[in-house]
Symmetry: C2
Subunit: 200 residues, 2 copies
C-alpha cells in the first residue's frame, strides 16, 4: 500500500515518513515550480533517509496566483495555503496515487487545510489524505526529531529547504528585491534534515 | 521513551499502538471501575498484540458522576467524555508517565477532548498527550485494520470490549435493567481485536 508524502526536506515531513514506514510503502514527493533546485536538494535528503523520491512539477500559474495573494495580503498565510491545496490536488489527480500525507502538526497554522477542504479533495479526487503528525504537539515532535533525525537549523534566508515558501520568496526577490521579502515574511528559524540517527 | 496507550482492546487503540511502535516503547493501559472483568479481557488482547499491559483502577466516584450525566442528558456523549478526561488525568498523575496516547480518529466525536482540555491537562500535569490517529479518516483506519489486525465485530451488547461504555452500561443494567440501556445508548457495531495479522 503506497503513500505519497509531500516532502520539503524539513523535520515534520521527514518524521511523518518515519512514522508511517511500518504500515505503508513510502514515496516522498517534492513539489517544484522550477525557480530553484528544490528537487535536487530534497532528493539528497530523501536518499539519506532511505526512501524513494520524485519531483512533481506544479503549474507556474499556481505560483503566480500565490504571488498575487501575498502582494494583496501583505503576509504569506493564504498564499502558502493556496499552493499547498493545489499541490495536493495536482498529486491527487495522478490515478496511481491513492494515499497522500503531509507533515501538518496539531498546532500548525500554515500550511493547513480545513476539514471541509480535506473532505472535498478526498471526495472529488478519490484519495485518502493523512496527517500523521496531526495528533502530536510541537514538544513531542521536537523530542522525536532530536531522537531520530540529524538536522541543521538557521534563519530561513540561509537554510536550504525545498518548501513552497522558498520559491515564492525567490519570485519576490526577482521582482522586488531582498527588502520586500523581509517586509512580507516574518523572520523564523528553518530546519533542514541531514539524515537519520542510527540507534544503538 | 515510554508511552502509555489507553487501551480498550478495540481496533483504534490497537492500531495506535502499532503506529507508535517504531518510535516509542509501548505500554497498554486499561482503565477499570471493577464492575466487569475488563482488565483481564484487555490483557488477553494485549498479549496477542505482544505489548506489555497494565490495569489502572479509576475512582468509583468518576463512574457515579458519569451515571448522573447520562441520566440527566438521556444520551451518553458527555458521560463518556467525562470518564475519558478523568482517565487521562488519573494516568497523568503517575509521576512515571510522561507520554499518553489514545485511539481518537479525525472524525471521532466521542470520546474526544477539546484542544483547550488537552492543553490544560498537558500544562497542569506535565505530560504530552498524543492522538496518533487524529490525522487519519475512518476509511484509512478501516483499510489499515483490515491489513494488520484480526478482529471480531458484532452489536455492542454482545461484543466483549474493555471500554468505558461497557461498565457504564453495566451500572445502568444493575440499577434500571436492560430496557434502560437500549433507551440511553444508540445501537452500534462494536469491534474487538483478536491478534495481529502476520504479514508474509
Amino acid at each position: 500500500m503506497r503513500i505519497s508524502v509531500l516532502f520539503s526536506g524539513g523535520k515534520d515531513s521527514s518524521l511523518s515518513a518515519l512514522l508511517m514506514e511500518p504500515l505503508f510503502e513510502i514515496e516522498l514527493v517534492t513539489c517544484c515550480f522550477g525557480l530553484l533546485p528544490n528537487g535536487e536538494l530534497a532528493a539528497k535528503t530523501a536518499k539519506e533517509l532511505r526512501f524513494p523520491h520524485r519531483v512533481l512539477s506544479l503549474e507556474r500559474e499556481i505560483l503566480e496566483k500565490a504571488y498575487e495573494k501575498i502582494m494583496k495580503d501583505g503576509f504569506p498565510k493564504s498564499a502558502i495555503n493556496y499552493i499547498h491545496e493545489k499541490a495536493i490536488e495536482t498529486l491527487a489527480s495522478d490515478p496511481e496515487v491513492k494515499f497522500i500525507a503531509d507533515g501538518t502538526r496539531r498546532d500548525d497554522r500554515v500550511p493547513v487545510l480545513s476539514i471541509s477542504q480535506i473532505r472535498s479533495i478526498e471526495d472529488r479526487l478519490g484519495i485518502q489524505y493523512i496527517c500523521p503528525l496531526k495528533g502530536y504537539n510541537r514538544k513531542t515532535v521536537s523530542i522525536l526529531v532530536e531522537r531520530y533525525l540529524r538536522i541543521e537549523e538557521g534563519p530561513s534566508e540561509n537554510t536550504p529547504k525545498a518548501d513552497y515558501e522558498t520559491e515564492l520568496r525567490e519570485l519576490i526577490r526577482q521582482r522586488h528585491g531582498e527588502e520586500k521579502i523581509k517586509e512580507l515574511f516574518p523572520a523564523h528559524i528553518q530546519s533542514h534534515v541531514l539524515s537519520r540517527k542510527e540507534l544503538p
